[in-house]
């Protein structure tokens, strides 16, 4: 039951083509970042009312995806499920890259990129945005050491690192939830956000791993026991319900309390939010995949599992949008019981739409993650020769 790992050959035209596509994705985003750095953030879709946009949404999305990958590797590293060992290396490698992608998203979003060194020279122990970069950087280091231990086949060390990595991942994701949860804004302030953030991270990450595993094994023509994917699919179904549970509790609380009822109505029933919440997150991202995965006929079929994994990833992207934007789009209750008019910033509901430059930046980060991922397959022994269930 020895699992053998090897690099991919990486000499085919397709390999170079994929690398080229990812590299080309980076270029426009790099140019957009340069433009924004010299001309200012008015090139983005952000305003004084909505100062955080697409890059922050995607940063928290990547951080979440990274957790899910790590969970797959911990199935082997901590719980000793040997049948998941073939996926352990690729999962940790992807987790590392996704976190680097998240940091890149945040960096491209800074107003003064040139003063990045300030965040190393000055630290504010009260700021969630100061604590989190520290957690992220350490997390990347831990993942790299963890991956190294696996590449060198140091089994006892792997077990220790797996445990450290999972504990640190919980810190990272609670911290990220706290960036939004620990802010005095009606649709942000919530103690439930850190655990809810972890649950969405687990479901989206598992879904992404399913997609990545299937794609890799198919394109490199490696034998894969489909029962492994079916088991991951069932795990995914469980995670979906945990996400829904947290979202239900949060919104039920907000609707029940008179002081937050108006904000909750905006969150749930404003046309844009409703489309994203009920359409994107609940129907497409949760109900359809849950039904597909739990139905014995479709839950065992690979195309259906792919279908629902794509929907879950999309649903969690919607959830990330709902964490960041509605809390800013909804006006703060500056003077309770009063109605504000004629203001330059305070009244009414505003909407956010990303500019073309932000889209380019987002694509560049995708390109960067993809490029390093594909390159890593050739340089490091990440992929197993086969994956099957050992009886």
């Amino acid at each position: 039951m020895e699992v053998k790992f090897q690099t991919i050959e990486g000499k085919s035209v397709q390999f170079y083509l994929v690398l080229l596509v990812f590299a080309l994705l980076i270029l426009p985003g790099a140019f957009s970042t340069y433009l924004m750095y010299y001309q200012g953030l008015h090139l983005s879709g952000m305003t004084n009312r909505i100062p955080w946009g697409l890059q922050i949404i995607l940063a928290v999305f990547y951080i979440g995806l990274s957790a899910g990958s790590l969970v797959i590797s911990s199935l082997y590293g901590i719980f000793g499920k040997i049948e998941y060992k073939p996926f352990a290396r690729i999962a940790v490698y992807l987790a590392t890259l996704l976190l680097i992608g998240a940091l890149l998203s945040i960096l491209t979003d800074l107003g003064r990129l040139d003063r990045l060194s300030m965040s190393f020279s000055y630290f504010n122990f009260l700021s969630m945005l100061s604590i989190n970069p520290f957690l992220y950087n350490m997390y990347i280091l831990i993942c790299i050491v963890y991956l190294w231990a696996m590449l060198k086949e140091k089994d006892r060390f792997v077990k220790i690192m797996a445990l450290i990595a999972v504990i640190w991942a919980i810190l990272v994701h609670s911290g990220t939830g706290a960036i939004f949860g620990f802010v005095p804004r009606e649709l942000y302030q919530s103690a439930l956000l850190p655990p809810s953030f972890i649950s969405a991270a687990l479901s989206s990450g598992t879904a992404l791993m399913i997609l990545v595993i299937l794609a890799l094994f198919r394109f490199t023509e490696r034998p894969l026991d489909h029962r492994l994917v079916v088991r991951l699919g069932r795990l995914l179904a469980v995670f979906i319900f945990v996400v829904i549970y947290f979202i239900f509790v949060e919104n039920a609380y907000r609707l029940y309390m008179p002081e937050s009822r108006e904000a909750a109505r905006f969150f749930l029933f404003d046309p844009v939010n409703a489309a994203i919440f009920w359409g994107g997150l609940i129907t497409i991202g949760s109900i359809i995949p849950a039904v597909v995965l739990l139905n014995p006929r479709t839950g065992g079929s690979i195309p259906w599992i792919i279908f629902s994994a794509v929907l879950v990833v999309f649903g969690v992207l919607c959830e990330r949008y709902l964490i960041v934007i509605p809390g800013l789009a909804h006006p703060t209750d500056l003077l309770p019981g009063m109605e504000i008019a004629d203001s330059v910033i305070d009244e009414g509901i505003v909407y956010y739409s990303a500019s073309i430059h932000e889209v380019f930046q987002a694509l560049a980060v995708v390109g960067m993650i993809g490029f390093l991922f594909v390159l890593g397959l050739r340089l490091l022994k990440l992929l197993p020769t086969e994956a099957k269930i050992y009886e």
Binding site: Y37, Q39, G40, L41, H42, T47, N48, R49, P51, W52, I106, D109, L110, G111, R112, L113, R115, L116, M118, S119, F120, S121, Y122, F123, N124, F125, L126, S127, M128, L129, S130, P133, F134, N137, M138, L141, W148, K152, I179, V183, P184, R185, Y188, L328, T332, D333, L334, L335, P336, G337, M338, E339, I340, A341, D342, S343, V344, I345, D346, E347
Partner: protein
């Protein structure tokens, strides 16, 4: 790479990270000593706004403020910077009373909270509260992450989305694009006054304390129209100052005091 090399490289990497994160400890220590810029702990600047005297259609305060702080108004609602802004306020409940009550004209600005969420949020301590209670942004340290704007419950922080070409008043640093800005109670005026007091303590007796540009403009406007002024500025720690007297004699309150931010801008008649 064999094991020995890896341990070496890993060790260097870890040591580097530790050092990088150790620096803030040192800087945090040095921050605890008062900077020469910071004023003595004796004064705590605050403002009282009597909204009954604020009239609709008058924008003297914000115009003076923009001039003082080199702010370009481009007429772009999404991006323009307003360190002080006037809004119209109506009572929402009960519905019948709203129809009778006159709408109020209310100037809004940074509340210079004693427990400021923006200072708590800033990851690099670029936003800080001075000993005299003024909340400031260090425009040369700010990395432009905009977390302070997210954290401020008063929408007081506005961001420089565009480069500012005008720089008439050299008492303030030219704000480049990429950093947020909020009211600083005209810190440069206070600094100049303090310097003169240090050189000649008699100035304290001879001259009144400095006031921000908006308060000055409001006083001027009131004198011209023969009405009472709406904005008053002064030392909250001095029981004989104008602001303290106004707060003692009138029902004054800060905005959203329930948030626990302890604002130092008080409103009468709101």
């Amino acid at each position: 790479m064999d094991r020995r090399d890896f341990v070496k490289a890993g060790g260097v990497l870890l040591a580097g990270t530790t050092c990088a994160y150790g620096l803030p400890l040192l800087s945090a220590y040095s921050l605890s000593t008062p900077s020469p810029e910071g004023s003595s702990g004796k004064r705590k600047w605050g403002m009282v706004i009597d909204v009954r005297n604020c009239s609709e259609g008058c924008n003297a305060c914000s115009e003076a403020c923009h001039k003082e702080h080199n702010i370009t108004s481009r007429g772009e609602k999404d991006w323009d910077i307003h360190l002080i802004r006037r809004v119209t306020v109506k009572r929402k409940y009960p519905a019948g009373a709203a129809a009778i009550a006159e709408p109020l004209s209310v100037p809004l600005l940074c509340n210079h909270c004693d427990d400021p969420p923006c200072v708590q949020a800033c990851p690099v301590q670029a936003t800080f509260k001075r000993d005299d209670g003024i909340v400031l942004v260090d425009h040369h340290r700010c990395i432009g992450c905009r977390y302070c704007m997210i954290a401020c419950p008063y929408n007081a922080r506005h961001f420089n989305f565009k480069e500012n070409e005008e720089w008439a008043n050299k008492n303030y640093t030219r704000s480049t694009h990429g950093v947020p800005q909020s009211c600083n109670f005209c810190a440069a005026r206070i600094r100049k006054w303090r310097k003169r007091v240090e050189e000649d303590p008699e100035v304290l007796k001879r001259e009144p304390e400095p006031v921000p540009a908006c308060v000055e403009a409001c006083e001027k406007q009131a004198l011209a129209s023969g009405k009472k002024k709406a904005l008053t500025f002064g030392n909250l720690n001095d029981p004989d100052s104008d602001v303290s007297k106004l707060i003692a004699d009138n029902p004054a309150r800060g905005i959203r005091e329930d948030l626990g931010t302890k604002p130092k801008v008080f409103y009468i008649g709101l």
